[in-house]
Symmetry: C3
Subunit: 158 residues, 3 copies
Amino acid sequence: MAQKLNILMFSGEYDKALAALILANTAREMNIDVTMFFAFWGLMLVRDPEKMSLDDKTTYEKMFSMMTPKGPEELPLSKMNFAGIGKAMLLEMMGEENAPPLEAFLKGARKKGVKFYGCKLSMDVMGLKAEEMIPELEVVTAKTYLEDAINSNMQLFI
Amino acid sequence: MAQKLNILMFSGEYDKALAALILANTAREMNIDVTMFFAFWGLMLVRDPEKMSLDDKTTYEKMFSMMTPKGPEELPLSKMNFAGIGKAMLLEMMGEENAPPLEAFLKGARKKGVKFYGCKLSMDVMGLKAEEMIPELEVVTAKTYLEDAINSNMQLFI
Amino acid sequence: MAQKLNILMFSGEYDKALAALILANTAREMNIDVTMFFAFWGLMLVRDPEKMSLDDKTTYEKMFSMMTPKGPEELPLSKMNFAGIGKAMLLEMMGEENAPPLEAFLKGARKKGVKFYGCKLSMDVMGLKAEEMIPELEVVTAKTYLEDAINSNMQLFI
Protein backbone atom coordinates (compact mmCIF):
# COMPACT_ATOMS: atom_id res chain seq x y z
CA MET A 1 0.00 0.00 0.00
CA ALA A 2 1.26 3.48 -0.83
CA GLN A 3 2.63 5.72 1.91
CA LYS A 4 0.62 8.86 2.65
CA LEU A 5 1.56 12.49 3.31
CA ASN A 6 -1.02 14.92 4.70
CA ILE A 7 -0.44 18.69 4.72
CA LEU A 8 -2.69 21.15 6.56
CA MET A 9 -2.17 24.41 4.68
CA PHE A 10 -3.12 27.14 7.16
CA SER A 11 -0.82 29.92 5.97
CA GLY A 12 -1.53 32.18 3.01
CA GLU A 13 2.06 33.18 2.42
CA TYR A 14 3.91 32.79 -0.88
CA ASP A 15 7.06 31.15 0.48
CA LYS A 16 5.21 28.69 2.74
CA ALA A 17 2.85 27.74 -0.11
CA LEU A 18 5.91 27.19 -2.29
CA ALA A 19 7.46 24.87 0.31
CA ALA A 20 4.20 22.91 0.68
CA LEU A 21 3.70 22.50 -3.08
CA ILE A 22 7.32 21.48 -3.72
CA LEU A 23 6.88 18.75 -1.08
CA ALA A 24 3.51 17.69 -2.55
CA ASN A 25 4.93 17.46 -6.10
CA THR A 26 8.06 15.61 -4.97
CA ALA A 27 6.00 13.15 -2.90
CA ARG A 28 3.76 12.34 -5.88
CA GLU A 29 6.85 11.70 -8.04
CA MET A 30 7.86 9.16 -5.35
CA ASN A 31 4.39 7.54 -5.55
CA ILE A 32 3.44 8.81 -2.11
CA ASP A 33 -0.29 9.68 -1.79
CA VAL A 34 -0.77 13.34 -0.89
CA THR A 35 -3.71 15.18 0.69
CA MET A 36 -3.63 18.95 1.13
CA PHE A 37 -6.28 20.42 3.45
CA PHE A 38 -6.68 24.18 2.93
CA ALA A 39 -8.00 26.12 5.94
CA PHE A 40 -8.04 29.77 7.02
CA TRP A 41 -5.54 31.84 4.97
CA GLY A 42 -4.42 28.74 3.06
CA LEU A 43 -7.68 28.96 1.11
CA MET A 44 -6.33 32.05 -0.69
CA LEU A 45 -4.02 29.71 -2.61
CA VAL A 46 -6.85 27.70 -4.15
CA ARG A 47 -9.17 30.53 -5.17
CA ASP A 48 -9.70 30.66 -8.91
CA PRO A 49 -8.58 34.20 -9.94
CA GLU A 50 -11.16 34.18 -12.76
CA LYS A 51 -14.19 33.24 -10.70
CA MET A 52 -14.62 35.74 -7.87
CA SER A 53 -18.31 36.32 -7.17
CA LEU A 54 -19.99 38.93 -4.97
CA ASP A 55 -23.50 37.44 -5.27
CA ASP A 56 -25.27 36.41 -2.07
CA LYS A 57 -22.55 37.78 0.16
CA THR A 58 -22.83 39.98 3.23
CA THR A 59 -21.04 43.33 3.24
CA TYR A 60 -18.15 41.87 5.25
CA GLU A 61 -17.90 38.90 2.90
CA LYS A 62 -17.78 41.24 -0.11
CA MET A 63 -15.04 43.33 1.50
CA PHE A 64 -13.17 40.17 2.38
CA SER A 65 -13.47 38.83 -1.19
CA MET A 66 -12.08 42.00 -2.66
CA MET A 67 -9.32 42.73 -0.18
CA THR A 68 -7.69 39.29 0.07
CA PRO A 69 -5.36 37.57 -2.45
CA LYS A 70 -7.17 36.03 -5.41
CA GLY A 71 -5.05 32.98 -6.28
CA PRO A 72 -1.42 31.91 -5.94
CA GLU A 73 0.52 34.77 -7.49
CA GLU A 74 -1.10 37.41 -5.23
CA LEU A 75 0.07 35.81 -1.98
CA PRO A 76 2.43 37.94 0.16
CA LEU A 77 5.83 36.79 1.46
CA SER A 78 5.91 35.57 5.10
CA LYS A 79 8.74 37.99 5.84
CA MET A 80 7.87 41.05 3.80
CA ASN A 81 10.82 42.91 5.22
CA PHE A 82 13.09 40.05 6.17
CA ALA A 83 16.40 41.87 5.89
CA GLY A 84 14.94 43.92 3.05
CA ILE A 85 14.23 40.94 0.82
CA GLY A 86 11.05 41.57 -1.10
CA LYS A 87 8.97 39.16 -3.14
CA ALA A 88 10.17 40.74 -6.41
CA MET A 89 13.76 40.02 -5.46
CA LEU A 90 12.99 36.44 -4.48
CA LEU A 91 11.14 35.85 -7.77
CA GLU A 92 14.04 37.37 -9.70
CA MET A 93 16.49 35.05 -7.95
CA MET A 94 14.23 32.06 -8.61
CA GLY A 95 14.06 33.03 -12.27
CA GLU A 96 17.81 32.94 -12.57
CA GLU A 97 17.82 29.38 -11.29
CA ASN A 98 14.88 28.32 -13.45
CA ALA A 99 12.80 27.31 -10.44
CA PRO A 100 9.20 27.57 -11.64
CA PRO A 101 6.93 29.97 -9.70
CA LEU A 102 4.09 29.06 -7.40
CA GLU A 103 1.40 28.79 -10.07
CA ALA A 104 3.41 26.15 -11.96
CA PHE A 105 3.81 24.06 -8.81
CA LEU A 106 0.07 24.33 -8.15
CA LYS A 107 -0.68 23.15 -11.70
CA GLY A 108 1.79 20.30 -11.22
CA ALA A 109 0.07 19.19 -8.00
CA ARG A 110 -3.34 19.26 -9.74
CA LYS A 111 -2.05 17.14 -12.64
CA LYS A 112 -0.20 14.69 -10.42
CA GLY A 113 -3.31 13.73 -8.46
CA VAL A 114 -2.80 15.49 -5.13
CA LYS A 115 -6.10 15.36 -3.23
CA PHE A 116 -7.38 18.91 -2.52
CA TYR A 117 -9.61 19.40 0.53
CA GLY A 118 -11.08 22.78 1.56
CA CYS A 119 -12.20 23.46 5.15
CA LYS A 120 -15.97 23.95 5.22
CA LEU A 121 -16.00 26.04 8.42
CA SER A 122 -13.31 28.42 7.14
CA MET A 123 -15.11 28.82 3.82
CA ASP A 124 -18.42 29.59 5.59
CA VAL A 125 -16.75 32.19 7.84
CA MET A 126 -14.95 33.82 4.92
CA GLY A 127 -17.98 33.64 2.66
CA LEU A 128 -16.09 31.65 0.00
CA LYS A 129 -18.20 29.42 -2.25
CA ALA A 130 -17.11 26.15 -3.87
CA GLU A 131 -17.61 27.60 -7.36
CA GLU A 132 -15.04 30.36 -6.65
CA MET A 133 -12.30 27.78 -6.02
CA ILE A 134 -10.20 25.50 -8.26
CA PRO A 135 -12.43 22.65 -9.53
CA GLU A 136 -10.39 19.90 -7.80
CA LEU A 137 -11.21 21.30 -4.35
CA GLU A 138 -13.57 19.12 -2.31
CA VAL A 139 -15.22 20.93 0.61
CA VAL A 140 -14.99 18.81 3.77
CA THR A 141 -15.24 19.11 7.57
CA ALA A 142 -12.40 18.97 10.10
CA LYS A 143 -13.50 15.39 10.86
CA THR A 144 -12.75 14.28 7.28
CA TYR A 145 -9.36 15.99 7.48
CA LEU A 146 -8.51 14.28 10.79
CA GLU A 147 -9.51 10.83 9.50
CA ASP A 148 -7.22 11.28 6.50
CA ALA A 149 -4.38 12.81 8.52
CA ILE A 150 -4.26 10.36 11.42
CA ASN A 151 -4.13 7.45 8.96
CA SER A 152 -1.22 9.03 7.04
CA ASN A 153 2.46 8.27 7.60
CA MET A 154 3.34 11.92 7.95
CA GLN A 155 1.48 15.14 8.76
CA LEU A 156 2.65 18.73 8.51
CA PHE A 157 0.96 21.98 9.62
CA ILE A 158 2.22 24.73 7.35
CA MET B 1 -6.39 1.24 21.74
CA ALA B 2 -7.39 4.80 20.95
CA GLN B 3 -5.49 6.78 18.34
CA LYS B 4 -3.52 9.78 19.61
CA LEU B 5 -3.06 13.35 18.38
CA ASN B 6 -0.33 15.56 19.85
CA ILE B 7 -0.22 19.31 19.22
CA LEU B 8 2.74 21.51 20.17
CA MET B 9 1.18 24.97 20.56
CA PHE B 10 4.07 27.40 20.06
CA SER B 11 2.18 30.34 18.58
CA GLY B 12 0.22 32.88 20.61
CA GLU B 13 -1.98 34.02 17.75
CA TYR B 14 -5.76 34.03 17.79
CA ASP B 15 -6.33 32.34 14.44
CA LYS B 16 -3.72 29.60 15.00
CA ALA B 17 -5.10 28.91 18.49
CA LEU B 18 -8.55 28.64 16.94
CA ALA B 19 -7.32 26.11 14.37
CA ALA B 20 -5.58 24.05 17.07
CA LEU B 21 -8.61 24.01 19.38
CA ILE B 22 -11.06 23.16 16.60
CA LEU B 23 -8.84 20.16 15.75
CA ALA B 24 -8.55 19.17 19.43
CA ASN B 25 -12.34 19.34 19.97
CA THR B 26 -13.10 17.47 16.75
CA ALA B 27 -10.56 14.75 17.58
CA ARG B 28 -12.09 14.20 21.05
CA GLU B 29 -15.55 13.85 19.44
CA MET B 30 -13.99 11.09 17.30
CA ASN B 31 -12.60 9.40 20.46
CA ILE B 32 -9.04 10.29 19.54
CA ASP B 33 -6.82 11.03 22.60
CA VAL B 34 -5.43 14.56 22.46
CA THR B 35 -2.43 16.15 24.17
CA MET B 36 -1.70 19.86 23.75
CA PHE B 37 1.76 21.03 24.87
CA PHE B 38 1.89 24.80 25.34
CA ALA B 39 5.35 26.38 24.94
CA PHE B 40 6.66 29.92 24.34
CA TRP B 41 3.87 32.24 23.12
CA GLY B 42 1.36 29.38 23.18
CA LEU B 43 1.32 29.71 26.98
CA MET B 44 -0.60 33.00 26.61
CA LEU B 45 -3.63 30.93 25.63
CA VAL B 46 -3.76 29.02 28.92
CA ARG B 47 -3.19 31.89 31.34
CA ASP B 48 -6.16 32.38 33.64
CA PRO B 49 -7.25 36.01 33.09
CA GLU B 50 -8.40 36.25 36.73
CA LYS B 51 -5.21 35.00 38.36
CA MET B 52 -2.32 37.19 37.25
CA SER B 53 0.16 37.58 40.10
CA LEU B 54 3.16 39.91 40.39
CA ASP B 55 4.50 38.39 43.63
CA ASP B 56 8.03 37.01 43.64
CA LYS B 57 8.75 38.21 40.12
CA THR B 58 11.76 40.09 38.79
CA THR B 59 11.20 43.46 37.11
CA TYR B 60 11.36 41.87 33.66
CA GLU B 61 8.92 39.15 34.68
CA LYS B 62 6.49 41.79 36.00
CA MET B 63 6.73 43.79 32.75
CA PHE B 64 6.25 40.59 30.79
CA SER B 65 3.19 39.61 32.86
CA MET B 66 1.55 42.96 32.31
CA MET B 67 2.40 43.49 28.65
CA THR B 68 1.46 40.09 27.21
CA PRO B 69 -2.03 38.70 26.50
CA LYS B 70 -3.84 37.40 29.57
CA GLY B 71 -5.96 34.54 28.25
CA PRO B 72 -7.57 33.54 24.96
CA GLU B 73 -9.58 36.60 23.97
CA GLU B 74 -6.56 38.94 24.19
CA LEU B 75 -4.51 37.05 21.58
CA PRO B 76 -3.63 38.99 18.42
CA LEU B 77 -4.30 37.79 14.87
CA SER B 78 -1.32 36.23 13.03
CA LYS B 79 -1.87 38.62 10.10
CA MET B 80 -2.86 41.87 11.78
CA ASN B 81 -2.92 43.63 8.49
CA PHE B 82 -3.50 40.74 6.11
CA ALA B 83 -5.19 42.66 3.34
CA GLY B 84 -6.69 44.98 5.94
CA ILE B 85 -8.57 42.22 7.75
CA GLY B 86 -8.60 42.96 11.46
CA LYS B 87 -9.56 40.73 14.36
CA ALA B 88 -12.82 42.65 14.88
CA MET B 89 -13.87 41.93 11.30
CA LEU B 90 -13.01 38.23 11.60
CA LEU B 91 -14.97 37.95 14.87
CA GLU B 92 -17.92 39.74 13.27
CA MET B 93 -17.86 37.32 10.34
CA MET B 94 -17.60 34.36 12.71
CA GLY B 95 -20.59 35.66 14.67
CA GLU B 96 -22.72 35.72 11.54
CA GLU B 97 -21.98 32.06 10.98
CA ASN B 98 -22.49 31.14 14.64
CA ALA B 99 -18.97 29.78 14.96
CA PRO B 100 -18.18 30.04 18.68
CA PRO B 101 -15.16 32.19 19.62
CA LEU B 102 -11.85 30.97 20.99
CA GLU B 103 -12.85 30.92 24.66
CA ALA B 104 -15.75 28.56 23.94
CA PHE B 105 -13.45 26.15 22.09
CA LEU B 106 -10.99 26.26 25.00
CA LYS B 107 -13.78 25.43 27.47
CA GLY B 108 -14.89 22.60 25.16
CA ALA B 109 -11.38 21.14 25.09
CA ARG B 110 -11.18 21.30 28.90
CA LYS B 111 -14.53 19.52 29.30
CA LYS B 112 -13.78 16.89 26.65
CA GLY B 113 -10.64 15.67 28.42
CA VAL B 114 -7.85 17.10 26.26
CA LYS B 115 -4.58 16.68 28.18
CA PHE B 116 -2.98 20.09 28.82
CA TYR B 117 0.80 20.22 29.23
CA GLY B 118 2.76 23.43 29.90
CA CYS B 119 6.47 23.71 29.05
CA LYS B 120 8.47 24.11 32.29
CA LEU B 121 11.44 25.84 30.65
CA SER B 122 9.25 28.42 28.87
CA MET B 123 7.32 29.11 32.08
CA ASP B 124 10.55 29.59 34.05
CA VAL B 125 11.94 32.00 31.42
CA MET B 126 8.69 33.97 31.26
CA GLY B 127 8.22 33.94 35.02
CA LEU B 128 4.79 32.29 34.74
CA LYS B 129 3.69 30.24 37.75
CA ALA B 130 1.42 27.17 37.71
CA GLU B 131 -1.19 28.98 39.85
CA GLU B 132 -1.58 31.69 37.18
CA MET B 133 -2.66 29.15 34.56
CA ILE B 134 -5.86 27.17 33.92
CA PRO B 135 -6.13 24.41 36.57
CA GLU B 136 -5.94 21.56 34.01
CA LEU B 137 -2.41 22.58 32.97
CA GLU B 138 0.29 20.14 34.09
CA VAL B 139 3.83 21.60 34.01
CA VAL B 140 6.22 19.17 32.30
CA THR B 141 9.64 19.07 30.64
CA ALA B 142 10.41 18.75 26.91
CA LYS B 143 11.24 15.07 27.61
CA THR B 144 7.67 14.37 28.76
CA TYR B 145 6.33 16.13 25.67
CA LEU B 146 8.58 14.10 23.34
CA GLU B 147 7.61 10.78 24.96
CA ASP B 148 3.94 11.60 24.44
CA ALA B 149 4.41 12.98 20.93
CA ILE B 150 6.61 10.25 19.46
CA ASN B 151 4.13 7.63 20.65
CA SER B 152 1.20 9.46 19.03
CA ASN B 153 -0.25 8.73 15.58
CA MET B 154 0.00 12.35 14.54
CA GLN B 155 1.94 15.42 15.65
CA LEU B 156 1.50 19.04 14.66
CA PHE B 157 3.64 22.11 15.47
CA ILE B 158 1.33 25.13 15.43
CA MET C 1 15.67 0.08 16.45
CA ALA C 2 15.83 3.69 17.60
CA GLN C 3 12.83 5.96 17.18
CA LYS C 4 13.26 8.86 14.75
CA LEU C 5 12.32 12.55 14.87
CA ASN C 6 12.45 14.66 11.70
CA ILE C 7 12.24 18.47 11.81
CA LEU C 8 11.81 20.63 8.70
CA MET C 9 13.27 23.98 9.75
CA PHE C 10 11.64 26.54 7.42
CA SER C 11 11.58 29.56 9.71
CA GLY C 12 14.56 31.83 10.32
CA GLU C 13 13.31 33.20 13.62
CA TYR C 14 15.23 33.10 16.89
CA ASP C 15 12.46 31.74 19.09
CA LYS C 16 11.37 29.04 16.64
CA ALA C 17 15.00 27.96 16.11
CA LEU C 18 15.36 27.77 19.89
CA ALA C 19 12.26 25.55 20.16
CA ALA C 20 13.52 23.27 17.37
CA LEU C 21 17.02 22.91 18.84
CA ILE C 22 15.76 22.28 22.39
CA LEU C 23 13.63 19.44 20.98
CA ALA C 24 16.55 18.09 18.92
CA ASN C 25 18.91 18.11 21.92
CA THR C 26 16.33 16.56 24.25
CA ALA C 27 15.51 13.84 21.71
CA ARG C 28 19.18 12.91 21.34
CA GLU C 29 19.49 12.63 25.15
CA MET C 30 16.60 10.13 24.95
CA ASN C 31 18.46 8.17 22.22
CA ILE C 32 15.99 9.24 19.56
CA ASP C 33 17.59 9.72 16.12
CA VAL C 34 17.14 13.28 14.86
CA THR C 35 17.27 14.77 11.35
CA MET C 36 16.93 18.51 10.81
CA PHE C 37 16.28 19.64 7.22
CA PHE C 38 17.00 23.35 6.75
CA ALA C 39 15.10 25.05 3.91
CA PHE C 40 14.28 28.65 2.98
CA TRP C 41 14.86 31.03 5.93
CA GLY C 42 15.88 28.12 8.16
CA LEU C 43 19.20 28.05 6.29
CA MET C 44 20.16 31.32 8.04
CA LEU C 45 20.62 29.29 11.23
CA VAL C 46 23.33 27.05 9.76
CA ARG C 47 25.42 29.66 7.97
CA ASP C 48 28.93 29.85 9.38
CA PRO C 49 29.35 33.50 10.48
CA GLU C 50 33.10 33.33 9.66
CA LYS C 51 32.77 32.00 6.13
CA MET C 52 30.60 34.36 4.10
CA SER C 53 31.85 34.54 0.50
CA LEU C 54 30.86 36.88 -2.31
CA ASP C 55 32.82 35.07 -5.03
CA ASP C 56 30.92 33.76 -8.05
CA LYS C 57 27.66 35.34 -6.96
CA THR C 58 25.20 37.42 -8.96
CA THR C 59 24.37 40.93 -7.76
CA TYR C 60 21.16 39.71 -6.12
CA GLU C 61 22.98 36.85 -4.43
CA LYS C 62 25.59 39.27 -3.07
CA MET C 63 22.88 41.59 -1.71
CA PHE C 64 21.11 38.61 -0.21
CA SER C 65 24.33 37.35 1.42
CA MET C 66 25.01 40.69 3.02
CA MET C 67 21.49 41.63 4.11
CA THR C 68 20.36 38.37 5.74
CA PRO C 69 21.35 36.98 9.17
CA LYS C 70 24.76 35.34 9.25
CA GLY C 71 24.41 32.57 11.82
CA PRO C 72 22.28 31.86 14.88
CA GLU C 73 22.71 34.94 17.04
CA GLU C 74 21.64 37.32 14.25
CA LEU C 75 18.19 35.76 13.81
CA PRO C 76 15.21 38.04 14.59
CA LEU C 77 12.37 37.20 16.97
CA SER C 78 9.15 35.90 15.36
CA LYS C 79 7.13 38.54 17.22
CA MET C 80 9.38 41.59 17.16
CA ASN C 81 6.69 43.66 18.74
CA PHE C 82 4.69 41.02 20.55
CA ALA C 83 3.37 43.18 23.36
CA GLY C 84 6.60 45.16 23.23
CA ILE C 85 8.83 42.20 24.09
CA GLY C 86 12.11 42.55 22.24
CA LYS C 87 14.85 40.01 21.72
CA ALA C 88 17.12 41.80 24.19
CA MET C 89 14.48 41.42 26.90
CA LEU C 90 13.95 37.73 26.13
CA LEU C 91 17.71 37.07 26.22
CA GLU C 92 17.98 38.95 29.52
CA MET C 93 15.17 36.83 30.99
CA MET C 94 16.80 33.66 29.68
CA GLY C 95 20.10 34.70 31.24
CA GLU C 96 18.47 35.03 34.64
CA GLU C 97 17.27 31.45 34.37
CA ASN C 98 20.59 30.16 33.05
CA ALA C 99 18.98 28.86 29.85
CA PRO C 100 21.83 28.78 27.32
CA PRO C 101 21.35 30.88 24.16
CA LEU C 102 20.73 29.60 20.66
CA GLU C 103 24.38 29.14 19.70
CA ALA C 104 24.95 26.78 22.64
CA PHE C 105 21.97 24.65 21.63
CA LEU C 106 23.27 24.52 18.05
CA LYS C 107 26.70 23.36 19.28
CA GLY C 108 24.98 20.77 21.47
CA ALA C 109 23.02 19.40 18.51
CA ARG C 110 26.23 19.18 16.42
CA LYS C 111 28.06 17.29 19.20
CA LYS C 112 25.16 14.96 19.94
CA GLY C 113 24.97 13.64 16.38
CA VAL C 114 21.87 15.36 15.00
CA LYS C 115 21.86 14.83 11.21
CA PHE C 116 21.96 18.20 9.40
CA TYR C 117 20.43 18.37 5.91
CA GLY C 118 20.37 21.55 3.79
CA CYS C 119 17.81 21.99 0.98
CA LYS C 120 19.64 22.09 -2.37
CA LEU C 121 16.92 24.07 -4.19
CA SER C 122 16.75 26.77 -1.48
CA MET C 123 20.55 27.08 -1.43
CA ASP C 124 20.67 27.43 -5.23
CA VAL C 125 17.96 30.12 -5.19
CA MET C 126 19.62 32.03 -2.35
CA GLY C 127 23.09 31.61 -3.83
CA LEU C 128 24.42 29.91 -0.66
CA LYS C 129 27.36 27.54 -1.15
CA ALA C 130 28.14 24.44 0.94
CA GLU C 131 31.45 25.96 2.09
CA GLU C 132 29.62 28.91 3.67
CA MET C 133 27.63 26.63 5.99
CA ILE C 134 28.50 24.64 9.15
CA PRO C 135 30.64 21.62 8.14
CA GLU C 136 28.07 19.04 9.34
CA LEU C 137 25.50 20.25 6.76
CA GLU C 138 24.88 17.78 3.94
CA VAL C 139 23.19 19.33 0.88
CA VAL C 140 20.28 17.14 -0.26
CA THR C 141 17.13 17.29 -2.41
CA ALA C 142 13.52 17.37 -1.21
CA LYS C 143 13.33 13.68 -2.17
CA THR C 144 16.02 12.76 0.38
CA TYR C 145 14.20 14.80 3.03
CA LEU C 146 10.88 13.08 2.29
CA GLU C 147 12.42 9.59 2.42
CA ASP C 148 13.88 10.36 5.83
CA ALA C 149 10.76 12.11 7.13
CA ILE C 150 8.13 9.60 6.04
CA ASN C 151 10.12 6.80 7.67
CA SER C 152 10.37 8.71 10.98
CA ASN C 153 8.04 8.32 13.96
CA MET C 154 7.38 12.03 14.15
CA GLN C 155 7.69 15.01 11.81
CA LEU C 156 7.42 18.71 12.59
CA PHE C 157 7.35 21.73 10.24
CA ILE C 158 8.78 24.67 12.18
